[in-house]
């Protein structure tokens, strides 16, 4: 069966881009909801590329070969592509396929797209030994054990709701973003998730994670896991904090444990 054909349409000429690791993301002006390109990072992190390498090995090597030159006249390492060279063009080819050729359409989520594009852009420069993605099974053990991540995060029916639910985080965040989320949590905190601290006129203190906000009100999940809507005019104090309450795991977990947790998080694709 030749169901795993990939990238037959790309044409190999020339060499890889020297600036490959810093490939810019030509995002659509207003990407349609669900468009995988919407989540492409501006710069591909080593973890994205490593994730892409793993996906490539699993899905693309059957036709394109380990070095990207398995299809006649096509060299994926060259950085030149017959059907357009922008990241968006590549996303289009991968997700739509090319009718009339062996290049089928692949259904990939945005994390996978980021990985594949990141890897394609860096096939020449990437040293597979330099970045490890880790083992998802070990990552789960670390997540639930040493990391104590479920004290705040929820996956499926397990864990607290105080921090964002991670049940589908592997479909929405790139590998690089997930790694940075653990080592520099504030840098990866989505603004909507910022912590809220409010004090009512009668002195009641409310801490929570922001879910929504408008000019007059704010909606949050408080530290007791209750949905709360506050009218700002009724508050004595009100602050949106810009520092994540999550501790950095840079020194709490080893490099290989972090790589394992990234692999585990990438495996979380929701229902």
């Amino acid at each position: 069966m030749r169901a795993q054909l990939l990238f037959v349409a790309v044409l190999g000429l020339g060499t890889a881009r020297p600036e490959a690791v810093a490939a810019q993301n030509p995002l659509a002006q207003n990407p349609a909801p669900g468009n995988p390109a919407a989540a492409l990072p501006a710069v591909f992190a080593p973890a994205d590329i490593a994730y892409g390498a793993r996906l490539y090995d699993a899905q693309c090597t059957t036709c394109h070969g380990a070095n990207g030159d398995g299809v006649g006249g096509v060299d994926l390492r060259s950085g030149k592509f017959r059907n357009g060279g922008t990241d968006q063009d590549l996303v289009r080819v991968i997700t739509n396929g090319i009718p009339g050729t062996g290049m089928q359409a692949f259904k990939l989520d945005s994390s996978e797209i980021a990985g594949i594009i990141g890897f394609l852009r860096n096939m020449n420069a990437f040293d597979r030994g330099s970045v490890k993605l880790g083992d998802a099974g070990r990552g789960r053990t670390t997540f639930e054990g040493k990391g104590s991540c479920t004290r705040c995060h929820r996956i499926g029916a397990q864990g607290s709701r105080v921090a964002p639910d991670l049940s589908d985080i592997g479909a929405t965040r790139s590998a690089g973003s997930l790694l940075r989320s653990m080592t520099e949590p504030t840098s990866q905190m989505m603004p909507i998730n910022r912590p809220v601290r409010a004090v009512t006129r009668d002195g009641k203190i409310i801490n929570g994670r922001r879910l929504n906000e408008d000019t007059y009100t704010v909606q949050l999940l408080d530290d007791q896991e209750k949905l709360v809507s506050l009218t700002k005019a009724d508050l004595r104090e009100y602050a949106i904090l810009t520092v994540s309450p999550m501790p950095s795991y840079k020194d709490r977990l080893t490099e290989s444990e972090l790589a394992d947790v990234v692999a585990y998080l990438l495996s979380l694709k929701g229902r």
């Binding site: 810019q24 993301n25 030509p26 995002l27 659509a28 002006q29 207003n30 990407p31 909801p33 919407a38 989540a39 492409l40 990072p41 501006a42 710069v43 992190a45 922008t86 945005s110 929405t172 965040r173 790139s174 690089g176 973003s177 940075r180 840098s187 990866q188 905190m189 989505m190 603004p191 909507i192 910022r194 922001r210 879910l211 929504n212 906000e213 408008d214 000019t215 007059y216 949106i240």
Partner: protein
């Protein structure tokens, strides 16, 4: 048939009713349009009057009693999507458009429908940004609507039947008419949208009786025509893709209604972006008359003057804002002024007789330029690749109507604050009916490495938050652009603004609140949470001695008045 006494009396009663009704619903002759701004009980054109102040002379609703506003009726549209229309109200009858190109006539007091006209669209029509229509014009007892397939349709205001239907442009090339037409004397003036499809834009006037085209002004001049040399030849051996005939696909769309000064007999129109929107390198030169205001002789369409806000634009800073005209005192002298809050983030004061630049001043953060020369040409300061440009792609403001109150002397702007985009361009070759944007832009998110946030259309959760942009109603001195007050909103706003002679300001925003502010101070007087974003401009009118105010939120037209 033998007529009985009873049927005779019935017929007489009906006849009498018809006479009274026809007296109440008098024809909208052109002199009524000239004086529309003083005919406060009606709303006879898109911006309320030829000076486009979106200002009502009605005074029943005041800062003191606005807290007593309540919902009187609602009308629900059937077709989903942002509803950008502004209704007309003529002697107790409201006329409005709804998606895609329906016209509805209803009782302005109860919201009950008299008739609906449905236009059948050419299946080849394409538009970049949804099935938008922003409203109607009226002359005599005929309504005029531009259509998404680039037709202009005349409709009998009593019956809802089409009187004539004229093709304005080829819709399969991306041409459309989305704004409310402007009637001047015996002509109906419209422009064409399609700036994302490589159109060659124009404004054209049509005879109101026959639909025959009377004049056409191309917003993109051909080589040899005045302004044609602003589309420069490609440099020899250019390293980047350059289109030697860029003017043919130069954009210059017109998608918001213009204004008119009867004394000068000039009609003013804002012109949209150059094509392609973002890859500026393939169209060298200033690219007139994109991102400009043009002043045209209303009888001939001849260009009297122009002013270009953003020469050689690479940010999609359409200048389709409503040209607001005001007679003011400036430096001790009376001035026929034009005030303009541009998508590029600057406030402008121009002499509308000559086009002379008088004042330019940012009303939001701006870093694409840093100063003006004495003729009003901006000194552009392009940001390095990968760095954010303020304002972002949707602008410091956009097509949403501002308001000018002759009573306060303030100019009110719906603004996006703190909003930036990282711009980029990619070469794009013109193909009929294909997107011709040439863009590679990203929303600027001040959280390095975080995933991209959704584009400009989103649901009821404000996931842009203060980190990306906030909204505001800004009140600035119309003579200087100096900010007098600001009403901040957590989310950005696509809502127009209405002011009244009693100094009440009405506006909405993405959050779905419809708000009444004190036009002198910006303080909140009243609000209603309508549940979906407000993407059109409010109007006010009066029926049977009662003042009404409209707001469109999502699929709902909501009409408010004071509690009895």
């Amino acid at each position: 048939m033998i007529m009985t006494r009873r049927t005779t009396s019935t017929w007489l009663a009906l006849l009498l009713t018809a006479v009274v009704t026809s007296h109440l619903q008098a024809q909208v002759a052109s002199d009524r349009l000239v004086n529309a701004a003083t005919e406060a009980r009606n709303w006879l054109m898109y911006s309320g009057g030829y000076f486009s102040n979106r200002y009502s002379g009605l005074t029943q609703i005041t800062p003191a009693n606005a807290k007593n506003l309540e919902l009187k009726w609602m009308y629900q549209a059937a077709v989903a999507g942002v509803w950008q229309t502004t209704p007309l109200v003529v002697d107790g009858v409201m006329y409005l458009t709804q998606r895609p190109n329906d016209v509805v006539a209803l009782d302005a007091k109860t919201g009950r429908v008299f008739w609906i006209y449905r236009h059948t669209l050419d299946p080849t029509q394409i538009v970049c940004c949804g099935a938008n229509n922003r409203g109607l014009a009226i002359l005599g007892d005929t309504l005029y609507m531009g259509t998404l397939d680039a037709h202009l349709v005349a409709i009998d205001a009593r019956t809802g039947r089409a009187v004539w239907n004229t093709k304005v442009a080829e819709s399969k090339g991306g041409y459309s008419v989305t704004h409310a037409p402007l009637v001047v004397k015996d002509k109906v003036i419209v422009g064409v949208g399609g700036g994302e499809y490589g159109i060659r834009g124009f404004v054209a006037a049509f005879d109101a009786r026959s639909g025959r085209e009377a004049w056409r002004f191309y917003t993109i001049p051909a080589p040899g025509e005045p302004g044609g040399d602003s589309w420069k030849p490609c440099p020899p051996g250019s390293a980047v893709f350059c289109d030697p005939e860029a003017w043919k696909h130069g954009g210059g769309s017109v998608w918001v209604t213009g204004s008119y000064d009867p004394a000068l007999n000039l009609t003013y129109w804002g012109v949209g972006n150059a094509g392609p929107d973002w890859n500026n390198e393939q169209r060298p030169g200033d690219n007139l008359y994109t991102d400009s205001v043009v002043a045209l002789d209303a009888d001939s369409g001849r260009l009297k003057w122009h002013y270009q806000f953003t020469p050689h634009d690479k940010y999609d800073y359409d200048s389709v804002q409503v040209p607001v005209l005001a007679d003011i005192t400036w430096q001790g002298q009376p001035l026929k002024a034009m005030v303009w809050a541009n998508r590029n983030g600057n406030f402008y004061l121009l002499d509308r007789e000559t086009g002379k630049f008088l004042v330019g001043k940012p009303f939001v953060k701006v870093n694409w330029m840093d100063k003006f020369d004495e003729r009003g040409r901006p000194n552009q300061t392009p940001q390095p690749p990968g760095q954010p440009t303020w304002p972002g792609n949707q602008g410091g403001t956009n097509w949403y109507s501002p308001s000018y109150s002759p009573h306060t002397g303030l100019f009110y702007i719906p603004a996006w604050e703190g909003y930036a985009t990282i711009f980029g361009g990619t070469p794009v070759e013109y193909q009929e009916g294909r997107n011709f944007g040439g863009g590679a832009n990203r929303n600027f998110v001040p959280v390095p490495g975080a995933p991209a946030l959704p584009g400009i259309r989103r649901g009821p959760i404000n996931n842009w938050t203060e980190a990306v942009a906030t909204g505001a109603v800004l009140a600035v001195d119309a003579t200087t652009g100096e900010q007098k007050w600001k009403f901040p909103m957590t989310d950005v706003t696509d809502s127009g603004i209405l002011t009244t002679a009693s100094d009440v300001l009405f506006s909405g925003g993405r959050e779905g609140y419809f708000q009444a502010l004190d036009a002198r101070t910006g303080s909140l007087l009243w609000k209603a949470s309508l549940g979906a974003q407000i993407v059109s401009g409010p109007i006010s009118y009066e029926v049977d001695g009662k003042q009404y105010v409209t707001a469109i939120s999502g699929l709902s037209l909501c009409v408010f008045a004071l509690r009895e």
